[in-house]
């Protein structure tokens, strides 16, 4: 079983993808203009961009819930045409089934794929232990906290052994401390499972701390501004947040993101002379 996991797959290629939304009333809106990047097999690639820049749209396209207007997405060389079990999305809002216990949520996927219940449950149980939820496996999602729900959801995704995991701002809405802990938990799981991952966030620190490579997006209409490799060694710990490599990357990313984030506020960049915003 672990043998299978070591044959790392999940090389995802997003090739000149553009996406236009809109209806007859509102007119077309170009959300993604031209996005090309790769998620190397076995890597943790982070999509970093200002909020509202179409990161979630990209995730939807890679997941196959929607199709690009132009360009295409491939996974291990095969074109993505719809949703499939080789890609799993962990959503911003929890998508744990509220009517199942945590154990059922995690175990039921494998069970209905034909794995005997006992086996599926013991694996689910082990995964829940890995994410620190052993004591809560008989609870329903509404009975645990938001952070716990996210962890359970990551466990549910991992048990399905996808080629590619898509995490769309999974830690959004958690307080600072929980977020930090979640990142550590998550990295431990990543190091253990080595599932190719595309992780979406708008938090720079989170992005650099987790990533093998950063794909930095512009604001709408979105393009890839740059791809930065993060040479920090694994396993990572929070002391690396003070290293000089980290500092350099953060500076570079901040530079790129700041101007894009401003666009989201629909105002021009503040001039270098620190000028007072004039009133006309």
């Amino acid at each position: 079983m672990d043998q299978a996991r070591k044959t790392i797959s999940g090389h995802c290629r997003v090739d000149a993808v553009g996406k236009v939304f809109g209806s007859a009333d509102s007119g077309p809106e170009i959300v993604l203009k031209n996005c090309s990047f790769e998620v190397p097999a076995g890597s943790l690639t982070v999509l970093l961009g200002p909020s509202g820049c179409g990161k979630s749209t990209l995730v939807q396209l890679v997941a196959g819930y929607d199709t690009p207007t132009l360009g295409n997405v491939t996974l291990d060389g095969v074109s993505v045409t719809g949703p499939g079990t080789d890609r799993i999305v962990v959503f911003q809002e929890t998508a744990l089934f509220p009517w199942m216990t945590l154990l059922d949520n995690v175990a039921y996927g494998p069970i209905q794929m034909g794995i005997p219940r006992r086996e599926a449950e013991s694996e689910a149980s082990a995964l829940l232990r890995d994410v620190g939820l052993k004591a809560f496996e008989d609870r329903y999602p509404s009975q645990i906290s938001g952070g716990m729900q996210r962890r359970a959801e990551v466990a549910r995704a991992l048990i399905a052994r996808p080629k590619l995991m898509l995490l769309d701002e999974p830690f959004r809405g958690l307080d600072h401390m929980s977020r930090g802990l979640m990142q550590e938990y998550y990295l431990k799981l990543f190091d253990q499972h080595q599932t190719t991952t595309l992780f979406v966030t708008s938090e720079i620190d989170e992005a650099i701390f987790l990533a093998d490579r950063l794909v930095i997006l512009s604001y709408k209409p979105t393009t890839v501004q740059t791809v930065i490799d993060v040479p920090l060694p694994r396993p990572r710990d929070f002391q690396m947040l003070t290293s000089s490599v980290y500092g350099q990357i953060k500076e570079q990313a901040l530079d790129l993101l700041y101007n894009e984030a401003l666009k989201a506020f629909d105002q021009p960049a503040i001039p270098a002379n620190g000028g007072v915003r004039g009133t006309a």
Partner: protein, 291 residues
């Protein structure tokens, strides 16, 4: 969960907590809930008594007093022939309950699957929903003449009239229930490799359940009132007939006895549905009640 603390302070805390819990449990169960309800009922009876017996307001003097009803209801030799001690009373109840139950179960057995199918398949919805929406607004009582002429025997037509409104309430709420399910659940199920049948049994049915049970409560309510209408017009037995018959004979106490009996039966059947619903949907309960 651990019941004993690891030091004195924790032991004391848990003890205090348990005492408070116990105190609160008993206060809520008896004081708040039961006594308020009892006060309300007594107050209502008192108002009834005052308006009919003490003040004898115009028109009210014609009404039986609560005491009249009580004496009649519990009399072994009732003036108007119906009391707790006459078999005929229970025959009417039995007939009505049997009709409602039959109608309710047919309505649910047909309505829930239809509602799920409507929510499940867009094509089916496009075909069938317009017909449902055309038939739904027809008041159940408008069906009575049609039902009596078409169906063999009174029994079948009363049951048909009783189940129609219940059926539509069930269909509509089940459909809304399926629509209310968050798209992310379907997406997640798809990613996790759920087959179509698993999506139906593990996502759609439990996901629609809260709305379905709201629908069942409404269905039970409308079943009772359609039943009484049907029995008044076409019936030869049942509580609706009892009330109508009492009206023809100007036996006011029997009308009121019939009404109160319907109220009690309606309340009990709704409560039973709520009970089953909250048992089936334990996952909805918030808080750390598990274990």
């Amino acid at each position: 969960m651990a019941v004993t603390g690891s030091d004195e302070r924790e032991v004391a805390l848990l003890k205090a907590f348990n005492e408070k819990q116990r105190g609160r449990a008993s206060r809520i169960a008896y004081n708040a809930g039961f006594w308020y309800a009892l006060t309300g009922v007594v107050g209502f009876l008192l108002l009834w008594h005052i308006t009919t017996d003490v003040l004898t307001l115009p028109r009210f003097n014609f009404l039986p007093t609560p005491l009249d009803i009580f004496t009649e209801w519990t009399s072994t030799e009732p003036k108007y022939g119906v009391s707790l001690f006459t078999p005929i009373y229970y025959e009417h109840i039995l007939v009505s309950v049997r009709r409602v139950m039959l109608a309710f179960f047919i309505a649910v057995a047909a309505g829930v699957p239809l509602g799920i199918l409507l929510g499940w398949s867009r094509t089916f919805y496009n075909f069938v929903f317009p017909i449902v929406e055309l038939l739904r607004p027809i008041p159940p009582l408008a069906w009575v003449p049609f039902a009596v002429l078409i169906l063999p025997g009174v029994e079948a037509s009363v049951v048909l009239v009783t189940l129609l409104a219940a059926f539509f309430a069930t269909v509509l709420n089940t459909l809304l229930g399926v629509w209310s399910i968050n798209d992310d659940y379907f997406r997640a199920a798809h990613c996790l490799g759920y087959r179509r049948i698993d999506v139906l049994t593990r996502i759609i049915i439990p996901g629609a359940m809260p709305f379905v049970f709201t629908g069942l409560q409404i269905a039970m309510g409308v079943a009772w009132f359609s039943l009484v209408g049907g029995e008044m017009i076409a019936g030869r037995s049942g509580l609706g007939f009892l009330i109508f018959d009492a009206y023809m004979q100007v036996a006011l106490p029997n009308i009121v006895i019939g009404m109160i009996t319907l109220g009690v039966l309606g309340y009990l059947s709704s409560a039973a549905i709520r009970r089953v619903g909250s048992w089936l949907m334990a996952w909805q309960e918030k808080g750390r009640a598990g274990q």
